[in-house]
């Protein structure tokens, strides 16, 4: 490490050398690929021979590709469905788990199990559970009808949304649990003195106090939703037809199945731009950037 520059108070402070290894590593394996993806989106590359530039060809093809525009809408739809379903469930579950009752602690241990499974494992399990011939629908025909949930567009979208809730709720519930525990108990005691019940306390104290947490969690959901890949790959393969072909999956198909890596790079760039814009919009729209800290409004 470099010699320490001394500050006015004589306190030895770390130099830039302390930050350098992580910075170099990150530049090499995360930032460089990001720059490279932009470059490759203007090139033709089959994955074997050297890439060569082809100007705007990939972009022109992409704009005229009906599957691409469909995939963008499907991605946005699934993201919106994800945020709308996961937020209420994880908010309620997280606030519930924040209580210090003994039974809640025990049940929470079970509730958070999906957190431990990889997206791959989650998808594999649900695919087996929902199999129309050998899964649960075959046994509960009164509930599922013919049981071919993944056979229609609406059914497949519903399954992907539902599996999203199952898979991501525990993480977001945990985030809300942390947020809810940080709310000063005084507020609840004061409300109880005023005769406010549980529901009113939830609406007038818990929700406003969790504002920042809601935004953090929503940004994570949005970015996660826009980049949905594993569940689509394993549960639907983008089908039926191209009905659930989300952009990340379409990119994978273009690149690693059709060996058109230039087109895949263009899709990737669209993905990055959309993800960044939507996250910024959430932050802006919610006024997060103007907020100063969780203590605000106390």
């Amino acid at each position: 490490m470099t010699r320490a520059p001394k500050s006015a108070a004589g306190v030895a402070r770390p130099g830039f050398a302390w930050a350098a290894p992580a910075a170099v590593f990150f530049l090499l394996f995360a930032m460089a690929p990001l720059v490279l993806v932009a470059v490759l989106s203007f090139a033709n590359w089959d994955g074997i021979t050297e890439p060569h530039f082809n100007g705007l060809d990939n972009w022109v093809a992409l704009i005229h590709d009906p599957v691409m525009s469909q995939s963008v809408w499907t991605t946005l739809l699934l993201t919106a469905l994800g945020v709308l379903t996961q937020t209420p469930v994880s908010l309620l579950l997280g606030v519930w788990a924040a209580g210090h009752q003994r039974n809640r602690a025990v049940l929470s241990a079970v509730y958070f199990v999906p957190l431990l499974l990889s997206a791959t494992a989650v998808s594999v399990v649900w695919r087996a559970v929902l199999d129309p011939n050998f899964g649960v629908p075959a046994q509960l025909t009164w509930l599922f009808g013919d049981g071919n949930l993944l056979g229609s567009r609406s059914g497949a979208l519903a399954v992907l949304t539902f599996v999203g809730v199952w898979q991501f709720t525990p993480l977001h519930a945990l985030i809300y649990q942390g947020g809810a525990r940080a709310i000063p108990q005084v507020l609840y005691q004061a409300a109880a003195v005023d005769g406010a019940g549980t529901v009113r306390q939830f609406i007038h104290i818990t929700l406003p106090q969790l504002r920042n947490t809601v935004i953090t969690s929503m940004v994570l959901m949005v970015v996660g939703g826009l980049t949905t890949f594993d569940t689509v790959l394993i549960l639907t393969q983008g089908g039926p037809g191209t009905d659930t072909t989300v952009s990340a999956f379409y990119m994978y198909q273009k690149g690693f199945k059709s060996y058109d890596f230039g087109a895949a790079s263009a899709i990737a760039l669209v993905l990055v731009v959309v993800a960044t814009l939507v996250s910024l919009a959430v932050v802006k729209f919610s006024g997060y950037d103007r907020m100063r800290g969780t203590a605000e409004g106390l």
Partner: protein, 272 residues
């Protein structure tokens, strides 16, 4: 949160219990029955005959090798994260230079980069570097994509150390290295365990980088093994689901014995 029971919350939580419990019930029971039993009896009833053969078959079909590969990836990713993130966070919190501020902004920007977006250039770079189909080729990008969250969490933890403690050590003429070892590291244990939990889970459950950066059996990790099992022998549901159970077993053991650390760790990730 008050003393009297909240029936509405109780009812809601029971529904969630059912939703979480049902697939786990099917998962566990399916692994304990024969393939024929699963197709005739269906997933919900109890097995006509209990068996452990599915697990034994998986273990003899290369699960052990996948397991070791995943273990190697996970241990290496955690090691890299522990090696580079604490000094970085220390510099971000304590250094005065402008360069460190830029590095911090770089990592904040990195939070918004989804791994999916870089798989094509990553494939290009890793192939060019001759690391395609080597575990190290999976380890490096996986670790890199853990860095932004880990840096943010650990920086948050280190900011909580009071300035008086630094000044006290400065009185003794301590160098940055000694301050780091004797003050910063011991006082950010919570943050350190958070980033270990986060990085380990990311690496253990990682799928995308192994999917595009490896192809042989000798470099296969568990998640990729599950995916291939599903595409090649998807009809053998008991065998497939046994592999799922085996894949989550180590995390489940950690969960049982260190649930508090794990949950606190993930809560720390979300809270910052």
């Amino acid at each position: 949160m008050r003393g009297r029971p909240n029936y509405l919350a109780g009812f809601g939580s029971l529904i969630w219990l059912l939703l979480v419990g049902l697939p786990l019930y099917v998962l566990l029971l399916a692994t304990l029955r024969t393939r024929a039993d699963y197709s005739t009896e269906g997933p919900l009833g109890l097995p006509a005959q209990w068996t452990l053969r599915n697990y034994l078959t998986d273990l003899s079909n290369g699960f052990g090798r996948d397991f070791l590969n995943t273990l190697t990836v996970t241990a290496s990713v955690v090691a890299i994260v522990l090696l580079v993130v604490p000094p970085l966070a220390y510099a971000i919190v304590r250094a005065r230079g402008r360069a460190t501020g830029w590095v911090f902004r770089l990592f904040l920007l990195g939070l918004a980069i989804p791994a999916q977006a870089v798989i094509v250039p990553m494939f290009y770079l890793i192939s060019k570097a001759g690391l395609y189909d080597h575990l190290i080729g999976v380890i490096l990008p996986t670790a890199a994509f853990c860095l932004p969250v880990c840096t943010l969490v650990l920086t948050g933890a280190m900011r909580d150390i009071s300035p008086e403690l630094y000044e006290a050590m400065a009185m003794d003429g301590a160098s940055p290295g000694r301050v780091f070892r004797q003050l910063v590291l011991p006082l950010s244990k919570g943050g350190l365990s958070s980033i270990v939990v986060f990085a380990a889970l990311q690496a253990w459950n990682g799928f995308l980088f192994p999917l595009i950066l490896t192809q042989s059996d000798s470099t296969k990790v568990i998640t990729l093994g599950l995916y291939e099992f599903q595409t090649e022998h998807g009809a053998d549901v008991p065998g497939l689901l046994s592999a799922v159970v085996l894949s989550m077993l180590p995390i489940l053991v950690v969960y049982l014995f260190a649930r508090r650390a794990l949950v606190q760790g993930l809560m720390g990730v979300g809270g910052k």
